[in-house]
């Protein structure tokens, strides 16, 4: 059915639009103005109308870990959070390292998903870091990128081969940077709080040494690399300098790295346990600076659902990660826009335009002819995060009870309403 989104403040950074105007939807696409007759009117007065958000880093857990999340529940959470496209990481069971699993995910998403799902294939078979996956087959089946996320590609030689080989298929390579010999059993950031809590620390170098490695490999091979979830001041600086030299490196950070520090672990809070770990005030400030100056291209959630039984245990034994789809936009508004770090159009760039560009997917724009993927949100509405209301199957969020700004009113995917605020 035809739809018109009226009276909203349209922020479409790809087209340099930031003004009150109407958006016309027909046949699942954004179109030029048509007569109001026979069209469904969505009143967006007081709201921002933007291209649907794109999360380039989520874990949908299906196949294999349906007790944590499914494609149905994960995409429902995405829709609730204003995301119209998500790219899901390959650490499923079986690992998404072959065309059959990619096809399974795409079929399942087609049938049960609320938003567009773009599978990411594994760089190496079984994510073991030993042999390359069939990268050509993965791409042909619909994988939009490759990554061994959750695990690093520990061998520099293997990573170099992956970059060079993947260039033959023009598929982005996303690197999870973590030097295991530096992690050395660590479970939180190494610093005052790890000493205070008696928990094993993970030094910044565990991340930064591999960020440096991959920047050097990208520079040497000329193949682009995307660095996942940067968390430290050092990583930001390495990437900033690389970009100045013209290295084709892009990177993402996550809302928790600009809104929380390792102090959140006090009390052995397992919902503050993630990988990379929450860092210090200094790192949070540096990550914000990197978001501001463009060093950070994208904000991704690293949405990592875990069952309560995997979190309600000793800190050392607790699973890494937090859910993020249903809080990301509010955290971006509250901690970045409202604090004057970046403007709203810049936030939309990092939550939609840039990740779409990095993955090469048709999203991130309200241009005529583009898929009608739209988010409508009230940036000023206050919300109290309540995990029991999450659409995600898992509730492992450190933000329960937080007062945040920004509430999603509508999420429209391909012209259909995927979420509407009750």
């Amino acid at each position: 059915m035809k739809k018109i989104i009226k009276n909203g403040l349209v922020i479409d950074p790809a087209n340099n639009i930031n003004e009150i105007r109407d958006i016309f939807i027909d046949g699942g696409r954004i179109v030029s103005a048509f007569d109001e007759k026979d069209a469904e009117i969505i009143d967006a007065k007081g709201c921002i109308v933007a291209p649907g958000l794109v999360d380039m880093h989520v874990h949908l857990r299906e196949p294999g870990f349906e007790y944590k999340e499914t494609i149905a529940t994960g995409t429902a959470a995405a829709a609730k959070g204003g995301f119209t496209s998500v790219a899901c990481m390959p650490n499923t069971n079986p690992v998404t390292d072959n065309a059959a699993v990619v096809t399974f995910i795409k079929d399942k998403a087609e049938k049960e998903g609320s938003v567009n799902v773009y599978p990411i294939g594994a760089i190496t078979k079984g994510q073991k870091g030993e042999e390359l996956s069939e990268i050509g087959e993965l791409k042909a089946a619909g994988a939009v990128a490759i990554s061994d996320d959750g695990r690093p590609v520990s061998s520099a030689g293997m990573m170099r081969k992956a970059l060079i080989y993947s260039s033959g298929f023009d598929i982005p390579v996303i690197s999870h940077c973590e030097v295991m010999s530096l992690v050395d059993g660590g479970v939180m950031n190494e610093g005052y709080y790890s000493t205070y809590l008696g928990l094993r620390g993970i030094p910044d170098a565990a991340e930064e040494v591999m960020v440096s490695r991959d920047v050097i490999l990208s520079e040497e091979t000329g193949v682009p690399v995307h660095i996942a979830h940067i968390s430290t001041k050092g990583s930001a600086e390495i990437i900033r300098q690389a970009k100045k030299r013209g290295v084709k490196v892009t990177c993402e950070t996550c809302p928790h790295y600009f809104s929380l520090t390792d102090a959140a672990v006090v009390g052995y809070n397992t919902n503050a346990k993630m990988n990379p770990p929450l860092r210090t005030d200094e790192d949070v400030a540096a990550i914000k600076e990197a978001i501001k100056d463009g060093t950070v291209d994208a904000i991704a959630t690293d949405h990592a659902p875990h069952h309560i039984d995997e979190k309600n245990v000793e800190f050392d034994y607790a699973a890494n990660g937090i859910v993020g789809l249903e809080t990301a936009l509010s955290l971006g508004i509250s901690c970045l826009v409202n604090e004057g770090v970046i403007t709203m159009p810049e936030l939309i760039e990092k939550l939609s335009v840039n990740p779409a560009k990095i993955l090469g997917i048709p999203a991130g724009t309200l241009s005529e002819g583009a898929p009608a993927d739209v988010v409508i949100f009230d940036a000023n509405a206050k919300r109290t995060v309540n995990v029991s209301e999450f659409a995600s199957k898992s509730k492992n969020s450190p933000y329960d009870g937080y007062e945040l700004s920004g509430e999603v009113k509508y999420t429209i995917v391909g012209g259909n309403i995927a979420h509407k605020k009750a």
Binding site: T195, Y196, G198, L199, Y268, N312, V313, D316
Partner: protein
């Protein structure tokens, strides 16, 4: 004082008044220990369970004897001989003990924070008998009790703590307790075994053992676990002993009446020489005796806490 604290998870947030109260109670308990018949009825009808996920000789026996001397019913669970070995999680194990009517759960666990997790889910008092690298509060209390016995007061004492501070829960609990009671703590250890930002816990970091020991009232050596050498944290036992161990020559730098302490079990020839372990100023055996007194005091305080409920 009116005791309100439910659990003893660490000394991090325990006040000077509370520590003093425990030490005073332990003095009374030590008197009982010196009697011919070491049994009093104070905890008759109370139950104490020791729940140990790690091996222990002195701490577990010390708690068990402390309970028995006070006429409490005591029982032991070790991870290998219980449902834990069948895969039961910590909270289920803890709740099971709780609903059996246990008054005090004494817990040792290889994970930092495990007693904190348990304490939030049980009505019984939880006493931390050592959690990971975090705290071992009852050890620090018996150390402080021993220092007070010998030195009269903790205020202004210079205490040198030497060795593997990184992995030591004994060191951390002593830092907190000694700071709260007004002692000054100096540490020296191989740089690889010094936790990051440790000076922010209120201790002075020294580059050498000699610097830390100088004019010390108390010299405490930590146990060096020999497997640390295998993980590359120090090159050899002999180099460790030479630079970071305590011997008679180094001891001369401390005050002439300095106490020699060690939480045990001792690696003779590694962190301290046999000559030092058996030195006339070594109070290592007294620490063990005082451990029973401290644990009697704690069981007494915590098992009776619920009488007022």
């Amino acid at each position: 004082m009116n005791w309100t604290r439910k659990d003893l998870l660490g000394l991090k947030d325990v006040s000077a008044e509370e520590i003093q109260y425990i030490l005073d109670n332990a003095a009374t308990m030590k008197h009982i220990l010196s009697q011919n018949v070491k049994k009093v009825p104070h905890l008759r009808g109370k139950s104490v369970i020791t729940l140990f996920y790690e091996n222990s000789t002195r701490t577990r026996m010390s708690f068990e004897l402390a309970g028995k001397y006070l006429s409490a019913d005591t029982a032991n669970i070790t991870a290998s001989g219980s449902s834990v070995a069948k895969g039961e999680n910590l909270l289920d194990t803890g709740r099971t003990l709780d609903v059996m009517g246990c008054d005090v759960i004494v817990m040792r666990h290889n994970c930092s924070g495990a007693p904190h997790l348990l304490s939030q889910h049980v009505n019984a008092s939880v006493i931390n008998a050592g959690d990971g690298m975090n705290e071992h509060p009852t050890q620090a209390l018996l150390d402080m009790f021993t220092m007070v016995e010998k030195k009269g007061s903790l205020k202004g004492l210079k205490v040198a703590i030497l060795g593997d501070v990184l992995h030591s829960r004994v060191a951390r609990s002593n830092f907190y307790g000694l700071n709260t009671m007004g002692a000054k703590v100096y540490v020296a250890s191989p740089a690889t075994l010094l936790p990051k930002n440790v000076e922010e816990l209120g201790v002075t970091v020294c580059k050498t053992v000699e610097e830390a020991i100088k004019d010390a009232d108390v010299v405490m050596n930590l146990r060096m676990q020999l497997e640390r050498q295998k993980s590359g944290l120090f090159p050899s036992v002999s180099e460790y002993a030479k630079y970071y161990g305590l011997n008679e020559d180094k001891l001369k730098l401390a005050k002439p009446d300095a106490l020699i302490m060690h939480p045990g079990p001792v690696n003779r020839g590694v962190e301290i020489t046999t000559g030092i372990a058996d030195h006339e100023r070594s109070v290592i055996d007294e620490q063990v005796t005082n451990g029973v007194a401290i644990r009697m005091a704690l069981l007494y305080i915590f098992a009776n806490r619920r009488n007022e409920e």
